[in-house]
C-alpha cells in the first residue's frame, strides 16, 4: 500500500443524469485535501475531468462493462501498473455486480473497497424488493419483471395500466398508453438489457436516504431528503433535508436486514394524504450524485467510506444534517483543452496539469 493511499473513483459525468463520482471526490477532498485521486472513466468527455474543483489528479479509460469481466480486470491491472491505487469507490450500478461477485480478486490485488456481500447485494435487486419489504414490513409498489412485449402489456394491465417502465440498472419512464409502454420497453431493453421492470405507480412526494452501512446491521451515518425539484426524467435537482423518525426507522430496519456494507441510497415515495406511508421504490448500492451535500453539513459519508475501506478509525461520529438545509443543483460550463482530450483518447490516460490562466483583456487596462 502507498504511504498515503491513492483512491480510484468512477462515474465522473455530471450531465443530464449526473453520476456520483465528482461528488465523492469533492467530499474526500473536504477532509483530505492532499489525497491523490484517480478517475476511472468510460468516456473522454466525462464532465468531471474538466472541473476546477473536483477533478481527479489523473484519469484512465476503462473498458465498457459489455466487454466482459476479463477485459475489466485486465484493464484494472494495466492501470495499476501506472497508478497503484489502494482504494476503489465504484459509483455506477453496472460496475457493482462484477466487483461484488469477486471480493477475492480485489483482495489478491490489495484493492480496498467498501462493498456489500453477494447475498445482500442480490436481496436489494429491483426484482427481489418485494421479498425484502415483506420481511421488514415496509411498503413497496408491486413490480413485475418482463422479457417480452406481451408480458409487458399483461403486467401493465395487472398493475392498473398507469405504470413505470424501468431499466434493470437505471431509468424509469411513466407510461399510461400501450404505445408509450412499448417505446419505454424497447428503450430500456436496448440500454440496460433484460429483464425490464414494470412498476405500479404510487403518487406522492419522493424521499431519499443516503447512508453508510457497517456490514453488521448498523448505519454509520445517514441523511434524508425530500426531492424539491425534479428533471423531466425524474432525477432530483434539489432536495431539502428532513428528519422523520418513521423514515429513519424504516431505513434502519432495511439496512439491518441486509447487513449492508458500504454506501447506499434508499428511494421512497410517500403516498399522498394525511396518513401517507413510505413506499420503497429501490435501493441503489452506491452513493447518489447528491452525496456531497450532506458532506458540506458535517455528514461526510464518502470520507467515512474510504476510512472504513482502509480499516481506519472514523475521525468523528457522522452527524445527521439539520432539517431545513437544502441543495439546488446548478449546471455550469467547464473549459477543456484539446490536448487533454487527445491524451485520454489516444493513450487512455491523462495527468492533470496546472490550468493555463487566460487573462481577461480588462485585467491589463488598470481599471
Amino acid at each position: 500500500m502507498n504511504a498515503s493511499p491513492v483512491i480510484a473513483v468512477t462515474g465522473l459525468h455530471r450531465g443530464e443524469n449526473p453520476q456520483p463520482g465528482s461528488a465523492v471526490i469533492r467530499s474526500l477532498r473536504r477532509v483530505y485535501p492532499e489525497l491523490r485521486i484517480i478517475g476511472l472513466v468510460y468516456d473522454s468527455l466525462e464532465s468531471g475531468l474538466f472541473s476546477e474543483e473536483d477533478a481527479p489528479d489523473a484519469a484512465f479509460t476503462m473498458s465498457y462493462p459489455g466487454a466482459g469481466e476479463e477485459a475489466f480486470w485486465q484493464r484494472l491491472d494495466a492501470i495499476r501498473e501506472i497508478e497503484r491505487f489502494d482504494v476503489l469507490i465504484p459509483c455506477l450500478d453496472a460496475e457493482m455486480g462484477p466487483l461484488v461477485d469477486a471480493p477475492e480478486k480485489l483482495r489478491e490485488r490489495g484493492i480496498h473497497t467498501c462493498l456489500p456481500t453477494v447475498e445482500s447485494f442480490k436481496c436489494r435487486d429491483k426484482s427481489r424488493l418485494a421479498e425484502l419489504c415483506e420481511r421488514t414490513h415496509c411498503r413497496t409498489p408491486q413490480t413485475l419483471a418482463v422479457s417480452d412485449v406481451n408480458s409487458l402489456h399483461q403486467a401493465a394491465m395487472t398493475l392498473g395500466g398507469n405504470v413505470f417502465v424501468k431499466g434493470r440498472f437505471y431509468e424509469a419512464r411513466h407510461a399510461i398508453t400501450p404505445a408509450a409502454r412499448e417505446a419505454a420497453y424497447w428503450h430500456m431493453l436496448e440500454q440496460w438489457g433484460a429483464p425490464v421492470l414494470v412498476q405500479e405507480n404510487v403518487q406522492g412526494e419522493e424521499y431519499n436516504v443516503v447512508g453508510l452501512g457497517d456490514g453488521c446491521g448498523h448505519m454509520l451515518g445517514c441523511c434524508s431528503i425530500r426531492k424539491m425539484l425534479r428533471t423531466a426524467s425524474g432525477k432530483g435537482f434539489g432536495g431539502m433535508i428532513v428528519r422523520d423518525p418513521q423514515l429513519d426507522a424504516i431505513a434502519q430496519s432495511l439496512i439491518a436486514e441486509l447487513r449492508w456494507n458500504g454506501p447506499f441510497e434508499l428511494e421512497f415515495v410517500k403516498s399522498e394524504g394525511a396518513k401517507g406511508e413510505y413506499c420503497l421504490i429501490e435501493i441503489n448500492p452506491r452513493f447518489p450524485a447528491w452525496c456531497d451535500f450532506p458532506s458540506a453539513l458535517n455528514c461526510n459519508l464518502p470520507a467515512a467510506a474510504m476510512e472504513l475501506a482502509l480499516g481506519w478509525q472514523p475521525r468523528e461520529p457522522l452527524r445527521h444534517a439539520t432539517p431545513g438545509k437544502f441543495f439546488i443543483r446548478h449546471a455550469i460550463d467547464m473549459t477543456g483543452d484539446i490536448r487533454d482530450l487527445a491524451a485520454l483518447t489516444t493513450t487512455g490516460q491523462f495527468f492533470r496539469q496546472p490550468r493555463e490562466i487566460i487573462p481577461h483583456p480588462a485585467a491589463s487596462r488598470g481599471l
Partner: protein, 112 residues
C-alpha cells in the same frame, strides 16, 4: 383590523407557486410548533419531518397558535373576533372551513 381569509394557508412544493402575503400578527410569538410544523411570526412554516413548507395568513397563524396551546374551539373563536372586525357567525363559518382544510392537509385530526 379586518379578517384575512383563512384559506391563505398554502403548501409550497416544487411546482411554481405564488407566495401568499404573510404579515406578522401583532400577538404572535417568535416561533411556535403546531403539529410537526414550526411557524415563524411572519407566517412561514416548515415541517422538518416532511420537508414541506407553507405560508399562512395572520388569521390562520392566530388559530394555529391557539390550537398549539390546546385552546378549545369556542375560545379560538373569541380570540379571532377579539383581533379582527368580523361578525361572530362569519368567523365561525370561516373557522369551520379552515379546520376542514387543516384536516385535509393532515395538520389536525378529524375529531378536533
Amino acid at each position: 383590523m379586518k379578517l384575512a381569509p383563512f384559506s391563505t394557508l398554502m403548501r409550497h412544493n416544487s411546482q411554481p407557486h405564488d407566495l401568499a402575503p404573510a404579515v406578522a400578527p401583532s400577538t404572535a410569538t417568535a416561533t411556535f410548533d403546531f403539529h410537526t410544523v414550526t411557524w415563524q411570526a411572519d407566517g412561514f412554516g416548515f415541517d422538518a419531518t416532511s420537508g414541506e413548507f407553507f405560508t399562512a395568513s395572520p388569521t390562520a397563524l392566530i388559530v394555529m397558535q391557539a390550537l398549539s396551546e390546546g385552546v378549545a374551539r369556542p375560545q379560538i373563536l373569541d380570540r379571532v373576533t377579539a383581533h379582527f372586525e368580523v361578525a361572530r357567525s362569519t368567523a365561525e363559518r370561516d373557522l369551520e372551513s379552515f379546520f376542514a382544510e387543516l384536516v385535509h392537509i393532515g395538520l389536525i385530526e378529524e375529531s378536533n
